[in-house]
């Protein structure tokens, strides 16, 4: 019969009279033990060999155990030191004994607790006395350690248990395997067993010449780890952005684009933010020193926006009691929110007049002039979305956000009334954390005010919301420090191994 070469070798090396253990066979055949074991099981399957298994408990010393086997158990050293200082007669200060025993660090505690446990003596008020009738040379644990260090065994289970508790030994259950020829095996050997040619790799030549038909493929250890390639991978935050975009497009939203550096007019004035609003002082804005101002603003729109700020819009509308200057409106800044894009689109200046209904979104960077911390960077991705339609109600706003967040596993939305200069009513959105179940803030929303929409020439209702993408990602993944993810301090190993979001 024909068998793979390793199996032939094992069959030939095995004996019908006595079991031969796998380790011996492996050494004899110059093969790895796993290879021999594999071959042996294959032969057992074929009924040619019997694999005899016995469970063996193996005991090995830990590094600490080996140290004590060589240098003595700390409590024994403590006893001897104390004894040599005369502690059998009168108590000796503990510090002196520890120094004499040359104990340091955690060994001191180990020595003291076992000293007490084994009844080597008493420790009282920092004084150590030893019991005269103790013979540390007879210490069972020390003897067991020495025996194990010599390669001999220890029979007493309780002793092994106590050494294991002290982390001085490790016990492992191992299966010992040996093989013995069956009668069929003997018969086949007598009849003659040939080795098939084992092939390591399939080659193009073998395929074209047909040699593969005769080949026997050497078994691989298919369970073993292999060298791992580093994949090129889309950045985790970009993955999250793509996911958000996909959900929004699915919900009928169109994407917006526009300048990162823009006039304050688009960033703030069009949003009915008074010019003396605290958020518009230079401390919070990323105002530009070069260049300083936008060239042109649409004159009609500027007039309407100024009028809304000063006098409000329509009946019973007051406007602000704040200064308004077109030169301030022209000043450039890195946008503090991508709502500047919404203002541009709603005004009709970006892609022409919009007829309701329309939905728009962007997932783009916004900037904040503040200190960096674990949840805030100077630049972050803002998810911005709005719906323009006739007769939108607060309930439609709630329904839209409930739908959006459900795609990210965030349910049980709460709406906390809040204040934004450009929306009324306004809501902070709270949702349950998918992992912790905590109620956490997940966005800000509202219905744009008439003082914002009127000057922009929008007659329909517009509801809008904003959210930091980073916050959503942290919720989805449990990241705790956004600085690990975004920016030049990123750890490549993190990017290479972080789980993919989809």
């Amino acid at each position: 019969m024909k068998l793979p070469p390793q199996q032939v070798a094992v069959l030939e090396a095995a004996s019908a009279d006595d079991p031969t253990d796998i380790a011996t066979l492996a050494e004899q055949l110059d093969e790895k033990p796993e290879t021999v074991t594999g071959a042996a099981f294959a032969l057992e399957e074929a009924g040619l060999l019997e694999v005899l298994e016995t469970e063996i408990a193996e005991v090995s010393l830990t590094a600490e155990g080996r140290e004590y086997a060589d240098g003595g158990l700390p409590e024994v050293r403590l006893y001897r030191a104390a004894h040599s200082l005369g502690a059998a007669d009168a108590p000796v200060p503990m510090g002196e004994v520890i120094q004499e025993a040359d104990l340091a660090g955690p060994q001191v505690d180990i020595a003291l607790s076992n000293f007490a446990r084994k009844g080597y003596g008493d420790i009282e008020n920092g004084q150590l006395s030893v019991a005269a009738d103790v013979d540390p040379d007879q210490d069972d644990e020390a003897a067991a350690l020495a025996s194990l260090a010599d390669g001999a065994g220890v029979e007493e289970e309780s002793l092994l248990d106590s050494l294991e508790r002290r982390d001085l030994i490790e016990r492992e259950e191992r299966t010992h395997r040996a093989v013995q020829l069956t009668e069929d095996g003997v018969t086949e050997l007598m009849a003659g067993v040939e080795a098939t040619e084992a092939v390591d790799r399939l080659t193009p030549e073998m395929l074209t010449r047909g040699e593969w038909r005769e080949a026997s493929f050497a078994d691989y250890n298919v369970a073993a780890d292999a060298a791992e390639p580093t994949p090129g991978k889309v950045h985790i935050l970009r993955q999250a952005a793509e996911r958000v975009k996909e959900v929004l497009v699915g919900m009928g939203f169109e994407e917006m684009e526009g300048p990162h550096i823009d006039a304050d007019f688009w960033i703030n004035d069009c949003l009915f933010m008074p010019q003396d609003h605290p958020a518009r002082t230079h401390w919070d804005r990323f105002a530009m020193s070069a260049p300083e101002k936008i060239d042109e603003l649409p004159a009609d729109l500027v007039g309407r926006v100024e009028s809304a700020h000063r006098e409000g819009v329509g009946e019973d509308s007051d406007g602000y009691h704040s200064p308004w200057d077109v030169e301030f409106a022209k000043e450039l800044a890195l946008r503090g929110h991508t709502t500047s894009l919404s203002a541009r689109y709603l005004s009709g200046e970006q892609i022409g007049e919009l007829e309701p209904p329309r939905r728009f979104f962007s997932v783009e960077k916004a900037y904040r002039n503040d200190t960096l911390d674990a949840t805030h960077l100077l630049e972050f991705f803002q998810i911005e979305g709005w719906v323009m339609a006739e007769d939108l109600t607060v309930r439609d706003l709630m329904g839209t956000f409930t739908e959006f967040y459900s795609h990210f596993g965030i349910t049980d939305l709460r709406f906390k009334p809040t204040y934004n200069p450009y929306t009324e009513p306004s809501f902070e959105l709270f949702g349950r954390h998918p992992e912790t179940g905590e109620l956490i803030e997940i966005g800000n929303s509202g219905i744009f005010r008439p003082e914002m929409l009127d000057p922009l020439g929008v007659e329909a209702d517009v509801m809008a919301w904003g959210l930091a993408l980073e916050r959503l990602l942290m919720l989805m993944t449990g990241f705790e420090d956004i600085r690990d993810v975004h920016g030049t301090l990123v750890d490549l190993d993190f990017l290479r191994t972080v789980e993919v979001e989809y």
Binding site: T230, G232, K233, V234, H235, E242, K245, L248, V249, G252, F253, E254, E255, E257, P259, H260, I261, D276, H282, F286, M288, S289, I294, G314, D316, S317, H321, S322, L332, R358, R359, K365, N369, L378, E379, V387, A389, L392, T393, V394, R395, D396, G399, T400, F401, T402, L413, P417, Y419, E424, P425, I447, P450, E451, V485, G487, T488, V490, D493, L495
Partner: protein, 569 residues
């Protein structure tokens, strides 16, 4: 957002709800939109709330809102005001700060805690409506320490709001024992130093006089003579500012707070050269609110009496009426409500009283077609190809500094080379590390390499992101573009590695690629080429100059490229 410290015992006392536990109070406050932030050392609750309801900047204002919420009080409340006995004469005031207002509150019995609450309210109003005292500043004085000159024969007392030369007079400011001129206060008094910038460009300084002399230097500091103590029973409150409405509203909020502490408000005449007004102005404003607007915004049907009830529970009064045949409400708004700019703000009040979380969400029955922009789909396609070529996609900050952009790349802004352009620059950056918008992206990738020298090579990194430079030909004077940058860092990285990948990018996007030799200070001469896609010069490719590598502590060669993303469209 403002934070006010409030003692829970006092809140219980002022609301008349001694039975409320701290936790119950916190829940009740949360539904008003006031969040419990923590506790002070003295056991006071730190309450944070939105900057619209400035009438809640004092504990008495918060208590008032709670009492409306509990239904203990309903409708508009306006304190009784006694007729004026005092006049503020306005003459020769600094033109930058022409407005003044004032009120008197009598019969107060102030404990230390009340004083602290008044000071806190004053500070919070300064920080918010007062725009750090620039727009409005409050002075509170012990009235009994003032000696009024008779304004008109036999009629009333008067004080004077006027201007004074920086060194034109002296007084003893608060927290001091020395007579000082206003100019000396700005130089030598800690509070004076703090607020000196507010009056820096004033020729004459704001000053308030009584018959004895100068007693207040707004917006900087009061005089010591009129300092309020626990013994003070009658107070004069004066406010100066740049906007009459703003200081009148600040005054209203203070008057309501002192009224709640048992004070009797008394009017003051403010005599401007062109006419006299009586303050505080506690007039109730009326806005017309259409029934339809409420239902259309909240998405629910409401009965008329429900609306009236909800309004009253918000401290408003609503009277049903009709306008052009449609049902409306004439809604009275108390004078402390500085946030009501438009009828929509009243809808919000009614929604809060109804309970927004009582509303049932519904997905709007509105059909639209969603789409990405072409640029965004294109960017994603290029990113996917880069990843397919084995690049790790990176995401760096658009903000950086000139050292990273230029010096560490061996580049000077005036060079004729990619990246050597004037970067858009921030006026007052928080951090020296982030002062400009990047003109190119390769410096960011080299910094990532620098920070990851302990990680396994090869390190093939790419980024598609923003780059910008000052360009007067554009609308915003900034040219923003999407840039594609890639680096190949490995022990045998060569020009060819980068070029091969660039070819693959060009071919897959149907662009013709030429790479004529060029020079760039960041690259090795003779191994640098211009990237020309479809005939346009759009970038650079080459082996990074060893001096740049050493600057970034790199011990492996790096081949790199960068070009405009839209060249692949």
């Amino acid at each position: 957002m403002p934070v006010v410290d409030v003692h829970p015992d006092e809140l219980r006392r002022l609301t008349g709800h001694e039975e409320k536990s701290d936790d119950e109070l916190k829940d009740d406050l949360f539904s008003l939109g006031i969040e419990y932030e923590g506790e002070t050392e003295d056991g006071e609750m730190q309450l944070e709330f939105e900057a619209d309801r400035l009438d809640r900047l004092s504990i008495s204002g918060i208590a008032r809102s709670l009492r409306y919420q509990y239904g203990d009080v309903r409708g508009v409340y306006v304190p009784d005001t006694n007729d004026p006995d005092w006049t503020i004469e306005v003459e020769d005031v600094p033109e930058q700060r022409p407005y003044v207002t004032g009120a008197i509150v009598r019969g107060l019995d102030l404990e230390e805690r009340d004083l602290e609450a008044i000071i806190q309210l004053q500070e919070k109003l300064h920080a918010t409506m007062g725009r750090k005292r620039a727009k409005g500043a409050i002075g509170v004085h012990d009235l009994t320490m003032l000696k009024g000159a008779p304004a008109r024969e036999g009629e009333s007392n008067s004080i004077r709001y006027t201007g004074v030369d920086p060194d034109g007079d002296t007084f003893v400011p608060l927290d001091s024992d020395a007579e000082m001129t206003p100019a000396e206060v700005l130089e030598a008094h800690p509070i004076g130093e703090n607020y000196a910038p507010l009056v820096a460009d004033y020729d004459s300084y704001p000053a308030i006089y009584d018959d004895i002399g100068l007693f207040s230097f707004p917006p900087v500091i009061n005089g010591k003579r009129t300092e309020v103590t626990t013994g003070s029973r009658d107070l004069l409150i004066e406010m100066t500012g740049t906007d009459q409405w703003t200081i009148d509203k600040m005054l209203t909020i203070v008057c309501y707070a002192l009224d709640a502490r048992g004070g009797q408000v008394e009017s003051v005449e403010v005599a401007y050269p062109d006419g006299t007004v009586v303050r505080p102005d506690l007039a109730v404003e009326t806005k017309t609110l259409a029934h339809e607007r409420i239902e259309r915004t909240l998405g629910i049907d409401l009965e008329e009496d429900e609306v009236v009830d909800l309004a009253e529970r918000s401290g408003l009064d609503a009277t049903p009426a009709t306008q052009d045949g449609r049902p409306v409400y004439d809604v009275d708004v108390p004078p402390y409500r500085v946030d009501v700019l438009h009828p929509v703000d009243l809808v919000d009040d009614i929604g809060r009283a109804y309970g927004f979380n009582e509303l049932v969400p519904r997905y709007p029955d509105v059909s639209t077609v969603g789409a990405r922009t072409d640029a965004s789909r294109h960017e994603e396609a290029v990113r996917n190809l880069l990843v397919g070529l084995g690049f790790e996609d990176l995401l760096n900050f658009n903000l950086t500094n000139e050292t990273e952009l230029f010096d560490r790349m061996g580049l000077a802004p005036e060079d004729e080379a990619l990246g050597a352009e004037a970067p858009p620059t921030i006026i007052e950056p928080y951090s020296e590390d982030y002062t400009v918008v990047r003109t190119w992206a390769l410096p960011s990738l080299l910094t990532v390499l620098e920070n990851n020298t302990h990680r396994a090579y090869p390190q093939d990194l790419a980024e598609i992101g923003l780059a910008a430079h000052v360009d007067e030909s554009t609308e915003t004077n900034v040219a923003e573009r999407r840039t594609v940058a890639g680096v190949l860092a490995r022990h045998d990285a060569s020009y060819e590695d980068a070029k091969g990948r660039l070819q693959a990018l060009a071919r897959n996007f149907g662009a013709s690629l030429e790479t004529p030799s060029t020079t760039h200070p960041s690259f090795i001469e003779g191994r640098t080429a211009e990237v020309i896609l479809d005939g346009d010069p759009v970038g650079v490719i080459g082996e990074v100059n060893p001096s740049v590598l050493v600057e970034h502590d790199l011990e492996v060669p790096v081949a790199a490229f960068e070009f405009r993303l839209d060249a692949l469209r």
